[in-house]
Symmetry: D2
Subunit: 373 residues, 4 copies
């Protein structure tokens, strides 16, 4: 990972500012002959798109993606497929209100990248956060849609499991519920509560944090690479690179620190199909940085949006003390839209690790994975 | 980061197995003319060295580091300095008891990389965990000692803040206490308790987890790089790549998810020296992936050692069900020795980001940092 | 370098096919606060643009570049400047005649990437060579225009020094002549001859090769990095990656193999300004992979265009033997337009090495370079 | 490629100075289960070892390689095999005569990296050239020995085809002759002449250049990657990174510039086995940066050794004018020992490209390559 590119063999480079003419990305290293249409990507963008409920920013962006390169008509299958060359994607920015940001042009929002961009570069595009805007995450979702196709048997799903101090009841977990509420919440009862809760926060001009969980199923054992290319290390980096994320866990995460060695051990039996069968999954599907074949479980904490209506003390770029209030169109809980983004980052990391594993381990990496047992 | 190398400009490549002839690393990209002797590195290795108390593995390794390249006598300063060429470090393995591991040669320890290495590669060096051994972390500490010299004004310190379910009392925090107990614990009272607590675990042949906190002071604003080279993303990856780590937090971390936008905002005033002064540090010194100038605070969770005396159900490499008990010399709380390792990883990430910032931002990156305010 | 990205700190990623909707690139790692307008880039694109004389392809492309991101208005200087974030550039393809290529849809041009793309990927975009088209080099020129601004005191110029078997007379070398003929030829007399020569080749539907020389002046000593980041190694890679290039030389190049050690030695004296003064430049400005301060001289050979009117024996993608004639709009000497492309690649490599040197060597790398002598 | 590492998936990092305690390398990314013993590597080191004839430096180094990591006993095959973890190799320096270099401690040899290392870093290890010594190439040869095993069906051979101004007669080419003379010359008659020729140069304390040709057979089509990961671009970089190399060619190289499109076209017919059969190989086995299946042919020019007995004018590190004569033990034609080094670099590039191709193209990359025709 480096600056605006992530991944080693499945490489994604993003560009664009919140209020520039467009945002986009280049996906390099994609295997050839994979069916790919704009619709495949658009479906995932819809999940992240702003303005779909009153609980996200009211910016109205169609987020219509265009594929500029890297695909061609395949005569054999009569479908549009990838060619192995770089896939460039573009989304034009249409609903820009740069004027909204004039008031904060010279002032730093506490808890926002305003301050650090200016100190690092000596200049920043203040309109909508410029490059630091969550708008950039649309391209992550787009790249993730391609990544999913490379590792098609893998199923990656995300859910909001905590909003502010309120956790869901895991006993109520129902993946089908996730698509039925505007929070991607797997606990229908909690979702009903979140509706009231977030309304009050929204009306107060405040904001709140959230915790998101991503689960990847059907990942074969053997993906990931010791020592510094560990699957969990790369998941941590990928997820921590999402705007506003402040913590990442794999499996039991911080709770594992409280366990004894006995309690933490995921014991193994022989399954009916002869394959190893784990009796628990404290490890979150990863041991020594390599996938075990169990579901991969990653969790991350999203801080509350820093753009709020309550005045906060700050300084301006000339060093003078002042106060700031952020009007404009902001997410009261930016964690909600982080769900599809988190899924996408996990998909990208897994696609990259799949290719890396196939490179080094070759035949043994063929799909489906045939362990040597 | 990739496989056995981490860093972009300050690059560390490690090699070696627990019971091979030696472990070592190559540090590439170090600036020239930095004074460096073996003693500078040895001092940090002593902190991590096994066998220094009854609370760590009883393996007796001198961990004597040799510098094989990259240094030369400087006529001007009459000191040995770096030359800008790769610095190779070597530590010979001396206290090997490969026989100890014969019993688990064909069997997988639940919660251990035994299983995944074998499934990935079709072969593993079972002696002491081979490449997956925590022994590899000695080279991280060695590289970290060099990294510290590059960013000398930065002060990086670590502490154990939780053992098993028992947290320290932060009101008792005293950095001086850290070196006075075998746990790197900043709360002397908690340390006394940990002694009894860990003794009971050790005697039972069990193990426990821990939480470690690393604080880096005097980091100037501007280090780090959006979007995928974020300072926090790279810290997360670096720390998660340490053996047995299952979670990482920056600043308030998971607790930030519970906060309102008002509570989470680190308000800014003008300090007496004219520089920005933050009234709190929920952000842990990083905004938008770039350092703010405040102390950088990272925390990570270490799971309990998987090598325990209590029998656990598992399978062998032929697929047969069996039980396993791990004798040999193991850390009852591997989190303790993770403290110097965590410090080293933070040092390496910061040195790398310093060089990257200096490359892109040039003059504005001169030390000490002169903000344009 | 890797697939569709080159450079380490000054990183260029290109995308797009000859007959897709657009070509483009993302330039990452550019320092902030560098004045940059579309016109700065357009000026260099004009030099490479097709259809400017009867000696290049008659495809009519405006090659109008758009900057999509990475720049902003600087209040202090009242100019548009770089912000340190990725600069995306886009050129729409307008003069496409995909139909021209239907005849060769299933057949491989001898000496062309048609064959290898198909065998590698199992698919290729046959329209105008798809990704393998020289059209991609427009983005190299665009990136090179940005690179030049980063290392502004460095002057990079290219010239055609041989066409087919005919070399120029170096005694006639005049940089001013280069812009006065359609061949970028520094020998006005040779240029006059090339006009007649290439006309005959063009009318015969044939093609010819060329040799190009690039000279970079004012490069300070110290750029480049042993052992595998050598300046000459990276120049070789950058230049060899240009379509149709089959050979690269630095300084005396292959002629150096014929010299004795005495003849090859560039002796050094003390100049009037106290700085080292070389008495010759057989080395082409590079020793041990690092710049000496002398002009950097690189030369490369371009093979003749493979698309010609004379029938050639080949096979089709079904394995059947056939003949091929390439109609359409092709350069009779693709080496001509390789001149601005070669300049651009040298500029990109130098900008990247400048940033890398500044990262590692810091203060000593300040501009202008102050040797420690 | 970057500083002291080269390769992307098959990655080689070297370290060590001519007169330090040892030189070594770390080979990362090697597939597991490949039989590997020290003897496999030693065999290639013998070809490059100094002091084997009067035509190379008289330094006496055993160049005995030790494998420090990355291999283990495989129970199934009863052989030592790679484990997929990093393979560290070490060669101790034994015949050091640091005193020999005291005379040039403060003076720069014209045509040598002495000057540029000092200006870049402000310090250099003057003993035997330090890091810039050709001694580093021993580790390239060692890494190349491992690379060859990964792509075992590929046959890579090198030959000296020109010494000073004297080319061999290609009509006499006999690969068997190469091992029968101290010059790796495939023309026995030329070799006899070179013996007399080089003796006179050696006795005069002078030196001469050479041209080396490397041929790789049995490379399947499809290796290499457009646009910046082209096989020829990476070969150019790899070969140009060898000490003293000043030019690189693929296939016809610079001679291709003289050809017409008709003459340069490698026409294709259907072979008796149904596979494509080329009627010539002007391209040197590479089109569009991707292998065609024909032999890959690379050629490179080596300048004469800069360490000679004839006095040359130079300056010292304090800026004073002086003369220099280099005594000590030097190769009169460093191009000779560049033959095994060139072979090794080609092997490393091919192994890396094989893994990269396998990653992206998967099943279609299985060995032997099954084209879709």
């Amino acid at each position: 990972m480096s600056h605006n590119t992530f991944g080693h063999l499945f490489r994604v480079t993003t560009f664009g500012e919140s209020h520039g003419p467009a945002i986009g990305c280049v996906v390099d290293g994609c295997p050839p002959l994979i069916p790919l249409e704009e619709g495949d990507i658009q479906a995932f963008l819809e999940k992240r798109r702003p303005g779909t409920s009153r609980f996200t920013t009211q910016r109205q962006e169609a987020d219509q993606v265009k594929i500029l390169s890297g695909v061609f008509h395949d005569e054999k299958t009569k479908r549009q497929v990838t060619t192995g060359t770089p896939i460039a994607l573009l989304i034009e920015n249409t609903d820009q209100r740069a004027k909204d940001y004039d008031a904060i042009k010279d002032t730093y929002r506490p808890g926002h990248a305003d301050f650090t961009y200016d100190l690092k570069y000596g200049i920043r595009d203040h309109r909508g956060g410029g490059r630091s805007s969550a708008r950039e995450t649309a391209m992550r979702v787009a790249a993730g849609a391609i990544a999913r196709k490379i590792i098609a048997p893998v199923r990656i799903r995300g859910a909001l499991v905590q909003m502010g101090p309120h956790s869901i009841d895991r006993a109520n977990w129902d993946w089908d519920a996730v698509v039925k509420n505007p929070f991607f919440c797997p606990d229908a009862k909690a979702a009903a509560f979140f509706e009231t809760y977030l309304d009050s926060i929204r009306k107060a001009g405040s904001s709140t944090g959230a915790v998101i969980e991503i689960v990847a199923e059907n990942v074969p054992p053997g993906w990931g690479a010791p020592i510094y290319g560990k699957l969990d290390a790369e998941l941590a980096s990928a997820v921590m690179s999402i705007n506003a994320v402040k913590g990442v866990e794999i499996g039991d995460g911080f709770a594992a620190a409280e366990l004894s060695g006995e309690a933490n051990a995921d014991e193994i039996r022989r399954g009916n199909d002869g394959a190893p069968k784990f009796l628990s999954n404290h490890a979150g599907g990863i041991l020594g940085g390599i996938s075990t074949g169990q579901p991969i479980v990653a969790r991350f904490a999203v801080k509350p949006t820093s753009s709020i209506l309550t005045p906060r003390r700050t300084i301006d770029r000339f060093g003078a003390e002042t106060e700031i209030v952020t009007k404009g169109r902001h997410d009261p809980c930016v964690g909600i839209r982080a769900v599809p983004v988190g899924e996408a980052m996990v998909a990208c990391v897994l696609a990259d690790q799949f290719l890396r594993h196939r490179a080094q381990a070759g035949e043994s990496a063929k799909w489906p994975f045939a362990p040597h047992l």
